[in-house]
Structures are given as C-alpha cells and as structure tokens.
C-alpha cells in the first residue's frame, strides 16, 4: 500500500512541480535557520562542566561603591571578581575541598628543544586547586601541590599545543623552560581542553581560548605581575606601590570553590557572611550584605554568556519556521483540495476516509524527508558560512574558539531530521484530514 501511495505522491508532485519545490524549500530553509541559530545558542549556553554543576561555586562579595551597583543592568549582582585581600582570606578556609584564586597575565615562553624564538603567551596565574577542581585533563604529569602556591615554586603547566611547539610533542615533564626571564620546571602538560564558554573567567572573554601556561599564584605578588584582564576600582585610592594595589579595593581576581554538599555550601556561606560582618564593622563593604556562592549554570546566566543577540536570533528563526510551516499548510491545503475530483473518484471506488488520510500523509512525509535533506544541506552550508562570519583570528588579544565549535555534529543532524519530520507532519495533518472528509459526490458531478 505504501509503495502505491508513494507512487501517487510522486504523480502529484509531477502535476505541480513548482509547488512541490516551493514547499520543500520552505521546510528546508525554516529548518536550516533554526538549526543554525540553535547551534550557536547551544554552544554559547552550554555548561562545559555540567557534571560538577552542584559542586563548583563562584565566590563573589559586594565590595562595590555605596552609591551605585557594579552593573546597572544587574543591580542585585555583586561584582564578578574579588579583591586580593578578600581572596587571600577566603582561600585560606578549609571548608571547600578545593579553591582557586586566579588571574590572566602576559608572559613570554622560551627554551625547549625546538629552538624557537621567544613566544608571547597568555598565562593563568592560579592556585593549585584549579586543576583538580575543573577536571582539567593532563597528557603528561599533573598540577602542582598547594605548597607551591604561597611561597611560589618555579613550576609550570603548559598546554598540549605549547608542548607541541616547544618539545615537538615529547613528554616534557621535568624539563626546564623560561617564563619571562626565569627558569620554571614543567610539572604537567595539559591534554586538549576547550571549556566553552570559559566559565571560570567570563569577564575577560567568555569564548577566548584557554591560557597557554599556568604558574602558581604566589608569583603574582612576588613578581608584581599585573592582570592582563579586567581591573576595576570604584574607590579613589592612592596606589603608590604594588603592595598598595594588593591592599586596595580593586577587583581583579576570579575565585571558585568546590563544595561537596549543601551543608558545606551553608558553612561556606556563613563563613563569607561572618567575614563580611567583621569587615563591615571595620568600615569596608559599604553596600548591603550580598555575598554569593553561584553554581556554574547560574554563573553563566548571570554573566550573560549568551548574548541578547543570540536569543533574538533563536526567536527570529522560530518565527521564520512558523511562517514556512503556515505557508506549507496553506499550499498543501490548496493542493489537496484542488485534487478533490480525483480523491472523490477514489472515495467512490471504495477508499475509506482513513485511507485517503494516510495517502495524503504519505505525500506530506515525502515532502518532509526532502525538506529535511535540504535543511541538512543548507544547515551545513550555513554553519560553514557562520564559521567564516565568526572568524576573529585577527583579534588583537585572544581569538575565540567559537568558529571551531560551530559545526554540524550528530546532535544537530538528529535535531534537523526530527524537526523537519515533526514540522512537516504537523503542517500536513490538517490538510490531509480536511481532504479525507470531503463528501465525494459533488466532486464527481463536475469541476
């Protein structure tokens, strides 16, 4: 029966090929637009460490200006970064299983076996907790021990890409390289790692590539390193020395903790609050108490990892799909009703309403499959176009890894096909039902 219906469907398309093409194009285009915008949205809204979402918390305290909130668009949010003195006090707490205090700094890497020119890199200056906390994958070796943090040890972790450049991919653990003009011993080489969005430092480029090397946090004060990221201070302060800077109200450090359960979260929260109360009494923290432990997904949402443009585009794509489908419903309806004479004949010859319905639904199914295929091809082309459009490798400071992530993957193929079939069947249901219910007699009489 199905083959017969398929033959009928093909016959029907041959009768009005322009219309069939129009409907397939409408379905395909609508699907492609949705897949493209959803892919971008998916990449940007993804939680790159979802398996630890209930364990990792960004630590923020509202140390900002008494007269105005840090971000006027989100006035209830504390600043996204913390001051040095607060970070140092909080990091000493034993409540979290791990904690990380960190910033981005410039650096120059040289040495290795490949005899290259000194290479400018971006470095993350961080505490040891960073690696176990964020499940950072290692190719060779591992992170450093926390005793290398405060009286900083000359140890360094480099990425796989840097290891390829400096040591042609060989196991370099134990070798010495130069970071700026100091010798550092390599303790670990990362494996390929691209958390997108870069949740732990959204403030300094949510989609930039991770840093090229990692050194213990103590090198920050020891070498008077300045942050190559965002530094903000609301308070007029005379900062004569680097020490003044460290003691100032400048927020420039990202801080994260790993808390195993809700009891630990509560203990950490009350630890923050009691620290706040003590400091508030001493004249700091002029704003109302607002200390937060924010999990990863909450953090991504609060920091607008998904831009308003991305959300608008998803809305636009679905409006477009809606128009495409309404269009298809209208055309199918007209087409099916136009063939009413033939349908009337088939009904008169004994086809049941149900059979007529199935026959037309098969016709719709063929359109849906063709539309899905077209949609898939268009999506692939569209995503290629997006990669070209998003290519910011020219960026002066940290190109994003977005172009690599915007690609056709299994989930988008499945989504495309499912969306096409559901959409087209939804579009075809009503026309097929309508035509099945036509009284055959009048259509047999004349036109």
């Amino acid at each position: 029966m199905i083959t017969y219906y398929l033959r009928l469907a093909l016959k029907s398309f041959r009768r009005s090929p322009g219309l069939a093409v129009l409907m397939v194009c409408a379905i395909g285009l609508g699907i492609a637009a949705c897949v493209m915008t959803l892919t971008i949205y998916h990449v940007k809204s993804g939680n790159p460490i979802w398996w630890k979402n209930d364990k990792l918390y960004a630590v923020t305290m509202d140390s900002w200006d008494p007269n105005k909130a840090y971000d006027s668009r989100h006035p209830s949010m504390p600043p996204p970064q913390v001051t040095y003195k607060d970070a140092m006090y909080l990091a000493a707490s034993k409540i979290p299983e791990h904690s990380a205090v960190m910033f981005r700094a410039l650096g120059v890497l040289s040495g290795g076996t490949a005899q290259r020119r000194p290479e400018p890199i971006i470095t993350r200056v961080t505490t040891a907790g960073f690696f176990p906390m964020f499940d950072v994958p290692f190719l060779y070796g591992g992170g450093w021990k926390s005793d290398a943090d405060s009286a900083p040890g000359p140890v360094i972790v480099i990425t796989r890409e840097e290891n390829d450049k400096l040591f042609a991919g060989a196991n370099s653990v134990g070798r010495t390289i130069r970071w700026n003009d100091r010798d550092f011993r390599i303790v670990g080489v990362l494996d390929y790692w691209r958390p997108m969005p870069k949740f732990f430092d959204l403030n300094n480029g949510a989609f930039t590539e991770p840093e090229d090397a990692y050194i213990p946090f103590g090198w920050g004060p020891a070498l008077q390193l300045v942050s190559a990221g965002n530094n903000m201070n609301w308070k007029p302060e005379e900062l004569k020395t680097h020490k003044d800077f460290l003691n100032s109200e400048t927020i420039w450090l990202q801080m994260w903790v790993q808390l195993p359960n809700s009891a630990a979260v509560q203990r950490m929260q009350s630890f923050l609050d009691s620290y706040w109360a003590e400091q508030h009494k001493a004249g700091r923290f002029p704003r109302p108490r607002n200390n937060r432990l924010t999990d990863v997904s909450g953090w991504l949402a609060a920091n607008d990892a998904v831009s308003s443009d991305d959300e608008m585009l998803v809305g636009l794509a679905f409006a477009f799909l809606a128009v495409c489908l309404i269009n298809t419903v209208g055309l199918l309806l007209a087409k099916f009703l136009n063939g009413a004479a033939i349908t009337g004949m088939r009904r008169a010859l004994g086809a049941s309403q149900r059979e007529i319905f199935t026959q037309h639904l098969v016709e719709v199914g063929v359109l849906a499959v063709a539309g899905a295929l077209l949609g898939l091809v268009l999506s692939a082309f569209g995503l290629w176009a997006l990669r070209v459009m998003f290519d910011d490798s020219d960026a002066i400071f940290g190109a994003s890894g977005l172009p690599q992530l915007v690609r056709v993957d299994v989930s988008s193929i499945v989504a495309t096909v499912a969306l096409a079939v559901i959409a087209a069947l939804a579009a075809g249901l009503y026309p097929a039902w309508r035509v099945g219910r036509l009284p055959p007699a009048i259509y047999l009489k004349s036109q």
Partner: protein
Amino acid sequence: MSLDIRPIFSALLRNRTGAVLVALQVAIALAVLTNAVYIVDQRVTMIDRPTGIDDANMFVIDSTGFGGRFDYNASLRNDLDYLRGLSGVVDASPINHAPLSGGGSSTSIQLQPNIRNSSDTHPLNYFEMDEHELNTMGLRLIAGRNFRAEEILQPFSPAHPDAFVPQIILTKKAAESVFPKQNALGKTVYDGEGHSATIIGIVEDMLGTWPNTPQAPQSVAFFPRLPLMYGFYYLVRTRPGQRDAVMRTVEAHMATSNPDRVIRSVKPLSSIKRIVYLGDRNMAIFLATVTVLLVAITSLGIFGLATFNVSTRTKQIGTRRAVGARRGDIIRYFMVENGLITTTGVILGCALALGVGYWLSLQYALPRLDLYYLVGGILGLWTLGQIAVWQPARRASRVSPSVATRTV
C-alpha cells in the same frame, strides 16, 4: 468604480482557511520585517559611523618587554626613532590601548576636589600617549594647545605614583559633557583623590576604545603619560596607500631588533575595527538574510495560493465572464481579495510588531520601535502581496467565457 468589496468579502468568509493562513503569514512577516530592519539599520549606522581618526592608514604594534634586562625607556626611544624615521610613516606614538579594540582604560573626573557623589563624576575613556598623539591619530586641535615633550610623564608604576596627570586634552564631546554650555579650555578638573588637571586642549571627536558598548564611557581624553611597560602598543599612521608595505618592513625589523621583547602582533587598525564590530555585522547579515527569505517565502506563498485559486475557480470565472464581467473586473477581483487578506494580516501584524518591539525594548534595553519602520513595512508587504497576485490574476482574466458552458 466600486471595488465590490462586499461580495469578495463574503466569498472569502465562505472559504476561510487559506485566507487566514495567508493573513497569519503576513502578520508574522510584518512583525519580523519591521523589527529586523530597525535593528539592522541601527547596527549598520553604528558600524558606518566615522571614527574621527585616520583609521584606514593606521596600524598597531603589540609589544611586550620581558626580563630584568629590558630597558623600557631605551627600547621606546629606539623604536619610536625607527618608526618615525621610516619613509611612508606620518607619525607614531606609544599608546596604552589600541583605539576601537574593545579593551581600554577609563577613569572618572569631577569638578570639585573633595566631593564623592557619583552624579557629579564624569566617566572618561583615556589614552596614554606622548606629544605625537594628535598627529598620529589624525585629529585636529579645535582650541588650546598640544602637550609639550617635557610634559610627558613616565608610566604609572610604583616608582611614579601620579595617578592623575597635570594636563589633559579632551575631545569636543567630552568637554561638552563635563562643561555643558561653557568653554572648557583652561578649566580645572579633579580625579577622585583630589589631584587637579588643567584642560589645555580640545580636539575633534573620535570614537574611543569601546565603539559599540553602551555601558562604556564614550567621552575620550588624552593623558600625557607613557603606557605601562607590560603589553603596550605603538600606534603608527602612514601615508595613504603605504600602510601594508610599511607594516611588512616594521614587522621584519622589530621581530629581531631587541632580544628582550617580543612582538605579539602587527595589525592594521582596519582589522581591529572589523573584529570589534564582528558581532554587530554578523547580527545584521543574519537578520537581513532571514528577513529577505521570510518575505520571499511569504510572497511565493501568496503567489502559489492565488495560482491555485485561479485554477479551482476556472468555471466560476468563465461564468462571470459569460455574464458580462470584463477582464479588468476579474483582475480586480483577485487584487481586492489579496488586498483584503493582506490588510487583515497587516492589522494583526501591527499589533504583533509593536508587541515584539515593546518586548525587545524591555528585555534588551533597545530603543523602542520607530513607527516609520512599521509604515514602511505595511506599504512594502501590501505592494509585495499585490505584485505576487498580479500574474495569477492576469491568467484568470484570460479564462475564456466559453469555459462556463462546458463541464471539465
């Protein structure tokens, strides 16, 4: 000549589904079209806005000194002598952040030394440069004077604690925002700690380091101070047409000229500008593409549906022709029918467009939809509908009256 709306309307009511579907499409198309065109228009206007500087002929060198042997002042002197001596170079200056790059420095100034009230402070986006700053940018001095070489301070660092500078140059816009309706030249302003600065010059407007971030200060100032030694930039302006050649020469020379520093990048300002507007440009392209496709699909849908209606109504049309309707009457019938459907859609669409526009303005703090766009969208969709239905209507008018006497 009457349009005979009543019979057309009752005919439509008897066969609603197709008409309702078309009206719905028109409504959604109008809502998307007006809002999308409005957003695209804003983005394109922003991207095409003049920068105020000679951006086509400028490039940026990103240089990082490292190690204890790196001598900032000597390196700076050598590099600047080299750059300014090159044929094809108009001028060069060290700078803290590249203009239009999306990363920069800002501070606040106030009119009183000791008042801490955020409403009296004026945010400024500032550039730290030497006395070649105006010539390098290609900015014209409107009033006052430029910095003198001896006024240029050492970088802000522990050894040089001046957080503020004694003289500043403001753009016209910055001067007007700090001193509305007054001449700012020669006036004194203060930083948060109460240090004072005299406004010694006012220059033409330029876009600062954040051309497309609404929260960032748009008023620009120049500070007579060298940028911090880690990760600073040289801004170079060349004679027209010589930028790329000069860039190649400079890149080759500077890569090896000093072993204690590395050159991160040498980039034309035009590519920095492209990157900063990349998101806006992509948004505009995407919106425009989808909107064009949406309008095209809608028009084709109207066309397809009309074509079908003509073929189902052949006999009816023949009958009308046989009882005296002229070709024009038949064409008019289809045009008026489409006009009625589109009008219904447009009325629905107006509500939808305004609703979406209002929601967007609430949700994303966008300016409210301008009504001109709505009027344009209505006229556009109406015209498109009439064009789409024209060909099928003409075909209908060619139906011979004799058809009515036959059975098909």
